[in-house]
Amino acid sequence: MKQKTKNWYMLDNAASIYPYSSNRDWICGYRIGFVMKEDIKPDLLQRAVNEIAPRFPSYFVQLRFGYFWPYLEKAEKPVIIEKESNYPVLPTPRYYSKVPALRVIYYKRRLCLETFHGIADGGATIEVLKALTAQYLKLCGVEIPDSEYIMDISAEPTDEEVEDSFKKNYTKDKSFSRKESVSYQHKVKPIPNYNRVFHGIVPVADIKPICREKGITITEMLAAVFIYSLYKNSPDSNKKAIKISIPISLRPFFNSNSMRNFSLFTNIGAKLKDDKSSTLDEIIDAIKGKLVDGTAKDVLQGNINLNVSTANNLLVRIMPNGIKKFVLKIGYKNGQQKYACSLSNLGICKMPEEMKAHIDRMDVILGGPRDAIGCAVNSIDENLNISFNVASKQTEVVKTFFTTMTSAGIRVRVESNDGYRRNQNEM
């Protein structure tokens, strides 16, 4: 169904917390980008941005605050592409701001979208990135055929694309409880205006046989290695379980075409031995199957019902913004206690071969809390790209993660945004 022209959108159910949890040093956002084979041509990229903008009305917006709820308003200014000059996923002044909540950034071969999480989740933003890249390549003279993997930018946006799928799928069934044991917290001391990124390129062919042998998925394997790395770098005094948060896209489960947020988080982890003697295999055994349990449809439905029923509460609905900010911030902090770090697997990015021929790889960088380590995974072809971001020089967990993988016989190539040219970028 064709979408009626709208100048503003209420934030979707999952997004409502993001404007309140953000602060001056940190805004809940993320980066999704492609590393192309050739350097980016800025004039053509700007043209491509202008051409796809009408197709994605819920993306080219600015965040504003009403008296009771924040909302997204059609951006007053067009999106101007920016040459990257700072660290990835750093905050921009978005509160009451005329700056669009979506940024298009390029640097040499890299083309990225940095998005405020209030607009959409990564699963939807990938579609915008693919459409933008396809349009850019077309302007560069590359023949990109129509494909089911690329959204048609000449089509009209539909109501289904801008709907709040949480509300649509709210049922009278039982809601789940938010009660959950707290997790060990791995906190780093953030350096202001700094974000260190590590990309680990890992051949799928190396990791798949190991997962098959252990009877787990790639996400579970990576989650186990991440938990193991946190465990090895945790203080001896830690008695709590180490859990990590994994987002799950709900689109395939509820047959949604929403281009906004439609994902939930499941926390998986294990209580490990205090003397640091637990092995990776023990962690794998402890978390095996938990991700599948967390993605059972009744569990997801229960969580949707819980989130929507909370927003349905009259007190929450009419609470003025100032008070809501205070209350939701506490709620967000409380939720953060349930996991140590996040791991987001966006899966395989499918696209036509003609387009793939011009793309080296895809990068996803989480803009999680500044004092935590974020990990995002994706793949285009035969390689996984595992990206970590840490707002600190304390990168022992990342080192343990990759060395654990190499010890298991997995080949790893590491790149970083800091330290690859001696005497440069040193702080």
């Binding site: 680990g200 080192k399 690859y420």
Partner: protein, 233 residues
């Protein structure tokens, strides 16, 4: 290049391993056909202290200091109140505008006007109508009318300002109703000031509606929007 310590491949540009800091060694990479995707050089800048935090600190010190001074000197808390709210007014009028960048001025002007109004009402109330007589019946409606005139002048030159100002007119209308109730309750003779304020507000609102009514209604709806109750399937 490779790091033998971490046993990982590195790009040709790497002289040290980003994971452990050890020197990279010239060796064949295990994963072939990879090119480093570079990031720009960044000169890091520490954040400046948030000016609002500095203000809050000064304000808290002033408020506590003035309360202690008044208590020790046996003077009325009235003075402490003037100092405390006065500091907020000075901040609003003279300092905060300097820090506003890329933002909507209207929101800040309204917030500033609210701080000044509280200041005037406080002095009126505490001085028993001596220092700022009839602040709540005369000065505040005049302040609102002045704001409305600024809005009208603004949207004559920049029509989209009318849309942005529409929600303020709703608040000014609410202020007018509260003002009338206050004047009637306190039985003073300045009822006409608040009535004039309401009439002027309605005129401004009407003007906004004539110029760009559809956008103004959209703006009001967005500003006052409340999440609709969702019915379960």
């Amino acid at each position: 290049m490779r790091c033998n310590n971490c046993n990982v491949d590195l790009g040709e540009e790497y002289t040290t391993c980003p994971l452990c800091g050890e020197n990279a060694v010239q060796d064949e990479p295990l994963i072939k056909n990879q090119r480093t995707a570079q990031y720009p050089d960044v000169t890091t800048k520490a954040y400046h202290q948030n000016p609002f935090v500095v203000f809050l600190f000064i304000w808290a010190v002033t408020a506590i200091g003035s309360l202690i001074y008044c208590g020790a000197a046996g003077k009325s808390n009235y003075l402490a109140g003037i100092i405390t709210i006065g500091v907020a007014c000075i901040w609003s009028l003279f300092f905060r505008p300097v820090f506003i960048k890329q933002l909507y001025y209207g929101n800040y002007l309204v917030a500033d006007a609210a701080v000044i109004s509280v200041f005037l009402i406080y002095i009126e109330y505490k001085s028993g109508n001596v220092l700022v007589p009839m602040a709540s019946s005369i000065y505040i409606p005049v302040l609102i009318v002045a704001a409305l005139i600024a809005i009208i002048i603004g949207f004559i030159f920049k029509p989209e300002l009318g849309r942005r100002a529409a929600p303020y007119t709703i608040w000014f209308l609410i202020c007018g109703i509260v003002g009338i109730i206050y004047v009637l309750a306190s039985k003073n003779e300045y009822l006409y000031m608040w009535l004039a304020e309401i009439v002027f507000t309605l005129l401004t609102f009407g003007l906004i509606m004539i110029i760009d009514g559809k956008s103004a209604i959209e703006e009001i709806k967005a500003k006052f929007s409340i999440q609709q109750k969702v019915k379960a399937k």
